[in-house]
């Protein structure tokens, strides 16, 4: 085989591989999208719809637009369908929980990371290592503990117990171990001389943190924010244990409620699944702007 032929073969194989990988990612999404536009509640299993199979009923359901549905095919009896709890309400709950949790996580982990990166104290190394080990345990393991704690807290502080969004946020705020490590690693790459210069200029440690270190750390904060946002948006076990009433449900819990034992509303579920991608995508696009490199360039000679 001539070299040029071999090169072309390699290119074809490489592109083929990429197309397969792409298909593995994109096709399931398309199938879900199709299922959300399909009349009736069929699981996502096809990519093609005949013209008479198209329907916007699931989207109407999700967006809380009443539509009529045939109850009895033989008599032609119809009824108006409306979700008992508007899914958009769940979307709103999710956005609030995720946004507030992510912001809180950044606040907690950045301040902790600052201490680990810049201060010397007893057992500093030990605490860091134990954080690493603790984070390996999934949150689900502590489910019963979360339930019991929130239950007793809820008896004394009404808005912070079970079935409350603040209660769920409080639990999510504990997911800081990985983030502390990430932010600490980033802080370690910023030479201390910038902060020392600020100290000589008269800045207190807090002022140094807010006015010098934070602006330079925007990329890592954007990363932590978006990762936390995605995690909390899609988190299911803890949310379903903590949130009992449909009004408080997040998207993940609400969507799974559509797949009941005997009546799996695949169509509604598919529409809701596609909808939940919207806030994540929007947040991603917003945060992406801040993930830029070379933020310390100019300030420090490497």
């Amino acid at each position: 085989m001539k070299p040029s032929q071999r090169l072309r073969l390699k290119k074809i194989l490489a592109h083929g591989f990429l197309l397969v990988a792409l298909a593995l990612v994109v096709l399931p999404f398309l199938m879900v999208l199709v299922a959300s536009l399909r009349k009736g509640n069929f699981p996502p299993n096809s990519l093609w719809l005949n013209p008479d199979q198209w329907s916007l009923e699931h989207w109407k359901y999700v967006l809380n637009i009443p539509y009529s549905e045939i109850v009895n095919p033989s008599t032609g009896e119809t009824r108006m369908v409306q979700p008992p709890t508007p899914p958009l309400h769940w979307l709103w709950n999710s956005v609030i929980v995720s946004a507030v949790s992510s912001a809180g996580i950044i606040l907690l982990s950045s301040t902790a990371a600052y201490a680990f990166a810049r201060m010397r104290f007893k057992f500093r190394g030990h605490i860091l290592q134990s954080l690493l080990i603790l984070q390996m345990f999934p949150a689900v393991l502590a489910l019963t503990a979360y339930y019991t704690i929130l239950d007793s807290v809820g008896r004394h502080v009404e808005w912070l117990g079970l079935n409350t969004l603040p209660g769920l946020i409080a639990i999510y705020l504990a997911g800081v171990s990985t983030n502390i490590w990430m932010i600490k690693g980033y802080f370690d790459t910023i030479p201390a001389s910038m902060e020392e210069s600020a100290r000589i200029d008269g800045a207190s440690p807090f002022q140094t943190f807010v006015r010098i270190l934070l602006p330079v750390s925007v990329p890592i904060f954007a990363v932590v924010f978006i990762l936390s946002f995605i995690y909390t948006m899609s988190e299911y076990p803890v949310a379903s244990a903590v949130l009992g009433t449909p009004k408080t449900w997040t998207l993940a819990v609400g969507a799974s409620s559509l797949l009941r034992e005997h009546e799996k509303l695949w169509g509604h579920f598919a529409a809701l699944a596609v909808l939940s991608g919207v806030p994540i995508t929007v947040m991603f696009l917003v945060c992406q702007r801040f993930v830029i490199g070379g933020l310390t360039s100019g300030g420090i000679k490497e």
Binding site: S197, G202, G298, G299
Partner: protein, 375 residues
């Protein structure tokens, strides 16, 4: 007005690990008095403790024991901002997300000074440093030399009594370095403030300092003005550190021979001999037949005999480095080579026998055990 004088007394810095156990002593009990308005250079090889000392004066490192006074105040427990100091860092340490103006104004803004005052001070300083056009730019858009000038401006704006420099020119190219060296010296002339300058480059030390403090392994080897360090080093380390090319240090013995006292180098081949005459004779009396180190600078070994104190020395050329108007000739000696500075636009080749003349009046003798100069 002694408010800019700095007094370092019995200063010690010991580093500890996270648990508080001592690991390394960087500064071992040093004492140094810097006069108001003096340009004091701390020079030495890496790890000698000069930067640690500077940082303790600044307040960026905790003092393990001893005191540091600026003026007549002991500043051990004062925050850097209350000590009346300003520091210029090796890697500029500018704030990359702020404009040049804000970089220089930051300290004043923190001190809540009036806007007019800040505007006036920063503009005046940037004008003096030639940074007027760049006040709206960010550090990223400036060259290395300009950035260092901004760092300098930031320090000047603070109006300190003591300026601290931590190897500020190390990151600049050679040409920029020479330019900034003279700018800093000029600044010192204009402001008259005390300046403490840390460097590992002895050329910078010699050209800029009123006095130089040579350090090694956490202790002070000698403190003196440049010329005294050059002419009268107190120990082997200072003798070999100051001066470029470095002083020739030959190990050997002084023995009594028919012609008088002669220093002979140890070594099987090419051992050179230099007669000991004049004032050196009495110095050497206790070291006859004992190991001794003889030091003589390359610039005092030349191609012609200028006066009666010159003695001839013949050896073979090993390597020659022509520098233009003069050449550095490495000549074979008992333990490697010694360097002679030959003037004139001459060329030398390997193995060529050459007779040079040593100025015996400039010879220094050292005790190999104590490493101190014999006088």
């Amino acid at each position: 007005m002694s408010q800019g004088s700095v007094h370092i007394k019995d200063l010690v810095k010991t580093y500890t690990d996270d648990r508080g156990r001592p690991t390394f002593t960087a500064v071992k009990n040093i004492n140094l008095d810097i006069d108001n308005g003096e340009f004091m250079v701390l020079v030495g090889p890496s790890g000698c403790g000069k930067t640690t000392t500077l940082r303790m004066v600044a307040g960026l490192e905790k003092i393990s024991s001893g005191t540091i006074s600026i003026g007549d105040r002991v500043v051990n427990d004062l925050e850097p901002k209350d000590r009346g100091i300003a520091m210029v860092f090796q890697n500029y340490a500018l704030y990359p997300h702020m404009t040049i103006f804000n970089n220089m104004a930051f300290g004043l803004q923190l001190a809540k000074k009036k806007k007019d005052f800040i505007q006036e001070t920063v503009t005046r300083t940037s004008q003096a440093l030639g940074l007027n056009q760049m006040l709206d730019r960010k550090p990223q858009a400036l060259s290395g030399g300009q950035r260092q000038r901004v760092a300098l401006g930031r320090a000047i704006v603070r109006n300190p009594v003591v300026f601290l420099f931590d190897e500020p020119l190390s990151n600049l190219d050679a040409k920029m370095r020479v330019q900034m060296r003279s700018e800093i010296s000029r600044l010192h002339g204009q402001l008259g403030s005390t300046m403490i300058y840390v460097t590992h480059d002895q050329v910078e030390a010699m050209t800029m300092g009123d006095r130089i403090c040579v350090m090694k392994d956490g202790i002070i080897m000698q403190v003196a003005d440049p010329l005294t360090l050059y002419r009268k080093p107190e120990n082997l380390f200072v003798a070999g550190f100051i001066g470029s090319p470095p002083m020739n240090l030959l190990r050997g013995k002084v023995q009594k021979q028919n012609s008088g006292l002669v220093f002979t180098e140890t070594g099987e081949q090419n051992a050179i001999s230099i007669p000991i005459k004049g004032p050196l004779e009495s110095l050497v009396s206790k070291y006859v037949d004992k190991p001794i180190v003889l030091g003589v600078r390359p610039e005092h070994i030349t191609e012609e005999s200028k006066n009666g104190s010159h003695v001839p020395l013949t050896s073979a050329v090993d390597i020659a480095e022509p520098m233009g108007s003069e050449s550095l000739v490495y000549m074979k000696a008992g333990s490697g080579s010694f360097i002679a500075k030959i003037h004139g636009e001459k060329l030398f080749h390997q193995g060529q026998p050459l007779t040079v003349y040593v100025d015996t009046g400039k010879i220094l003798l050292f005790d190999p055990e104590t490493e101190a100069v014999i006088r």
